[in-house]
């Protein structure tokens, strides 16, 4: 099959060459130019590689375009390049720059560039007589998704733009928000196969250079073949790969990226990924939704506290249920005792199995819901939640009290604004359950100690992950568990060690008014 295909290709090419021949004068030298070059052999195996020959009408010199049809916009070639090259005085390859109205034209002599440029949507131009030299003409075909509403980090108030897969467009969205020359965008290419473009963004004079260096170095050191999304980068450059906690924050909101750049953090954009990465980050940042900044500080502080409570509740409530029912009946208030005992009366399973059964059911429902189209997914949720839940209580497999608890815990885990962290929280419950089964409340405290130690040891780009809780920094509490009004936010977070810690002058912002003035 392959062989056949190849033969067909060759024939076509020969035909094309013959066509060119009739236009120009034939000779030994010219024939040489029409021959294949060494670098072309592998390209020719792909059917979307094309090579076309033309003759300049004034000088009679032959020239040739090589390009990948799927990557370039042929109309650019037809309208902006070919007419000029055919009709004007085209003697030397250097003339291309003057002749055609395309800004991005590069001349190169290096064979290594060819592959990179061709696959970036450039057209390769060679001129008879100057075979060693190439001109690359930009003619990229842009298949771009429109800027859509953020879906993962939706907010009712505030901007409705979110990143798309094209890095240029994403950079455009950010540049618009930070229109200063200090915003530096560094570009790197990673992935031996994917050649993904990775951009590091920071604001010069604010961001600590150590942080930028860390990111730069880690990105340069990435050894991987195919990088399809920024999620790969998160895992490849994180401080501790074995931690279930994400150590870089990811966001799809350009406004959020702009905001954190101003704080003095580093952002990483990956071509082909609609999610930017932010670092260094802290644990509490994962529980702050970006919408918090659009609301009054009292409201957003309250919501943040609610979310933190929800997290603690979500992790601890099922283990506490198991611990209390298996070991600590003394703890249970006597009014609740009768409810609990009555609800567990017919159930053959011990509390731990009962809890595991329900927790796994919820996980199943979630997985099933996530893999199905939205509409069907909703149905599954309702079927699972109501039918399976009620049925298993009626069948005497689980107690209705536990059903309420597990459902609430699942609900609470979804309040986490960052999806990745929500997943982590759901996982954390299981070690807690194991220890609760083992040693009751004591086990819960032990597993909590393990978790605490893990978090203390964790770093994000070398900065402590648990800050401002530990190391305790009072000044950073202004935008952590609670959010103080903007007037109080005159300093950048301390743990970032920014080069310029002052965001704005506190004195100017402060207004003093007496009564009735």
């Amino acid at each position: 099959m392959k062989q056949l295909f190849k033969k067909k290709m060759m024939k076509e090419l020969e035909k094309e060459a013959a066509k060119q021949d009739t236009q120009g004068n034939t000779g030994q030298e010219q024939d040489n130019y029409l021959n294949d070059h060494g670098w072309e052999i592998l390209f020719k195996k792909s059917h979307d590689f094309k090579k076309t020959f033309y003759v300049n009408q004034k000088t009679g010199k032959k020239f040739c375009f090589s390009f990948i049809t799927t990557l370039i916009d042929e109309s650019i070639l037809q309208n902006n390049a070919l007419p000029y090259l055919l009709e004007r005085d085209f003697k030397y390859i250097e003339d291309v720059k003057k002749l055609i109205p395309i800004a991005d034209v590069q001349i190169s002599e290096r064979n290594e560039d060819i592959e990179k440029k061709l696959f970036n949507g450039y057209v390769l131009l060679t001129l008879e007589g100057e075979e060693k030299c190439f001109a690359f003409i930009a003619a990229q075909k842009e298949i771009v998704r429109n800027v859509a509403q953020p879906e993962v980090e939706f907010s009712v108030i505030g901007p409705k733009e979110s990143f798309v897969e094209s890095m240029d467009q994403n950079l455009n969205l950010i540049r618009k928000r930070v229109p200063v020359k200090e915003l530096i965008i560094e570009n790197y290419t990673v992935g031996t196969l994917s050649h993904s473009g990775v951009a590091i963004l920071y604001i010069d004079g604010i961001t600590n250079t150590d942080n930028v260096d860390t990111v730069r170095q880690r990105i340069k050191e990435i050894e991987f073949d195919e990088i399809t999304d920024s999620s790969y980068i998160v895992q490849l450059i994180s401080d501790n790969e074995n931690s279930p906690f994400p150590q870089l924050l990811d966001t799809e909101r350009p406004d959020r990226v702009a905001a954190i750049l101003a704080e003095g953090k580093v952002a990483i954009l990956v071509d082909g990924s609609p999610h930017a990465l932010i670092g260094p980050t802290t644990l509490v940042e994962f529980f702050g939704s970006f919408e918090d900044y659009f609301l009054n500080y009292l409201l957003s502080s309250f919501f943040r506290l609610v979310r933190l409570f929800a997290v603690a509740f979500s992790i601890l409530i099922t283990p506490i249920y198991v611990a209390a029912l298996s070991y600590h009946y003394e703890l249970i208030p006597k009014d609740l005792l009768s409810t609990l005992i009555t609800s567990r009366r017919e159930i053959p399973l011990p509390p731990i199995l009962e809890a595991l059964f329900l927790e796994l059911t919820i996980e199943l429902l979630r997985e099933a819901g996530a893999r199905l189209p939205t509409k069907v997914g909703q149905t599954i949720g309702i079927v699972g939640g109501i039918v399976i839940g009620t049925a298993s209580v009626e069948a005497g497999l689980t107690s209705n009290v536990l059903l309420i608890i597990v459902a609430l815990a699942a609900l609470a885990s979804f309040t986490t604004p960052v999806y990745r962290m929500g997943n982590t929280i759901r996982l954390l419950r299981f070690p807690f359950l194991f220890f609760a089964e083992l040693w009751g409340l004591l086990g819960i405290v032990i597993s909590f100690s393990f978790l605490l130690t893990h978090l203390i040891r964790l770093t994000s780009l070398g900065r402590p992950f648990l800050e401002p809780l530990y190391p305790p920094r009072i000044t950073d509490f202004k935008d952590a568990i609670i959010r103080l009004p903007f007037k109080k936010q005159s300093l950048r977070p301390q743990y970032l060690r920014t080069e310029n810690p002052v965001r704005f002058s506190k004195e100017k912002a402060k207004e003093k008014k007496d009564i009735d003035e």
Binding site: L325, L337, I341, I347
Partner: protein, 357 residues
């Protein structure tokens, strides 16, 4: 890889060997009430009350008894008769039959003290007649033990019963110069239990009782802050007034040594709940206040004299004098107590008379 294997090994072996004995709530018999009665040959009959949780949320009762010579054997006997292990952690109330209380209860209470799972807020009470009879009725629909403990709690918080529980009993028992007391319960009808008085202990033996109508005065003397209610008759008039004591305080003052003399100052702030006369004029209120003061003075003095006669000191005069004296000699106090003079000075104040005058 080795680390992962090691963790797996630990997890598995923890599950196999590290587990401790479970007490799953629906697989144990939760003992909530306990009763002790004295039988022939100094044997003790113990009655255990276990709530039965019915699907319709009504709580039934299940009691069973065992007889043994000591508290420790009793527990063995009870465990043997039970299909599921009997656990003591949720004990609400312990009752002692009258005979038992007269013989001494500290051996039984010691087992509560020693058992880490028993709380300090367990109520202790003397059952008039037989503890078993009281435990085997059916009162309310929340289970007997909870009913009885709620009964005592309500009477302590709002009415005339002084504060009692396991901790306070032990505190008084071990305190030099103070004697413990506990309420007396009586089964009036098949479904009604009443608090008929307070049992006074000397050491760990019940020696004397205070009837229910004197409990108000007793509470004024024992509890530093108390509430209660009391009905008085205004002497010259024919009117009667029911007074709800909202806030009362007592204060002891040592006025003289050799022989000791103590002044007890009682302050009562109350409201009038019921009044049989026509108009409550300010003059009338003054009269009621005066009457209240006189009654409290008289009744309290009588009570104290009564205690001195029986040689019990539930109010803790001995402890009070000790706190005022360096190197206090408790041996000598035994005699001094009989010669102690106590003056009661009451200051009563009626703050409200209800929404009509």
């Amino acid at each position: 890889m080795i680390a992962k294997k090691f963790i797996l090994f630990i997890v598995v072996s923890l599950l196999m060997a590290g587990c401790v004995e479970k007490e799953i709530i629906d697989d144990v018999n939760i003992e909530m009430g306990l009763g002790y009665d004295l039988k022939e040959d100094d044997k003790i009959e113990g009655t255990v009350m276990i709530p039965v949780f019915n699907p319709d949320k009504r709580i039934g009762n299940f009691t069973f008894s065992a007889t043994a010579t000591s508290a420790r054997d009793l527990l063995q006997e009870i465990q043997r008769k039970s299909a599921q292990p009997v656990v003591t952690g949720s004990l609400e109330i312990a009752l002692f039959g009258e005979e038992m209380a007269k013989k001494g209860v500290i051996e039984l209470i010691d087992s509560f003290e020693r058992d880490a799972s028993i709380g300090a807020r367990v109520y202790l009470a003397v059952g008039e007649g037989n503890a078993k009879d009281i435990l085997s009725g059916t009162y309310g629909n929340r289970g007997n033990a909870i009913h009885l403990s709620d009964l005592i709690k309500q009477n302590t918080d709002k009415r005339n019963l002084p504060k009692t529980n396991l901790h306070l009993f032990l505190f008084d028992h071990y305190q030099k110069g103070k004697d413990p007391y506990m309420p007396i319960l009586k089964k009036l009808e098949a479904e009604i239990i009443d608090i008929v008085g307070v049992a006074l202990f000397k050491g760990d033996k019940m020696v004397h009782t205070i009837p229910a109508d004197k409990m108000f005065f007793f509470k004024l003397l024992t509890d530093k802050f108390s509430q209660g209610s009391f009905k008085i008759k205004v002497r010259e008039e024919e009117e009667q007034a029911a007074i709800r004591d909202l806030d009362s305080k007592n204060k002891f003052k040592l006025t003289k040594r050799d022989p000791y003399s103590i002044t007890v100052e009682i302050k009562i702030e109350g409201i009038i709940r019921e009044y049989t006369g026509q108009m409550l004029t300010p003059a009338m209120i003054k009269k009621i206040e005066k009457e209240l003061e006189n009654t409290v003075n008289e009744e309290c003095s009588t009570l104290i004299a009564d205690f001195q006669g029986h040689g019990v000191d539930p109010i803790g005069f001995g402890h009070f004098i000790k706190s005022k004296t360096r190197g206090f000699d408790f041996k000598k106090w035994e005699d001094d107590y009989k010669n102690l003079t106590v003056h009661v000075k009451t200051d009563a104040k009626i703050t409200e008379v209800g929404i009509v005058e």
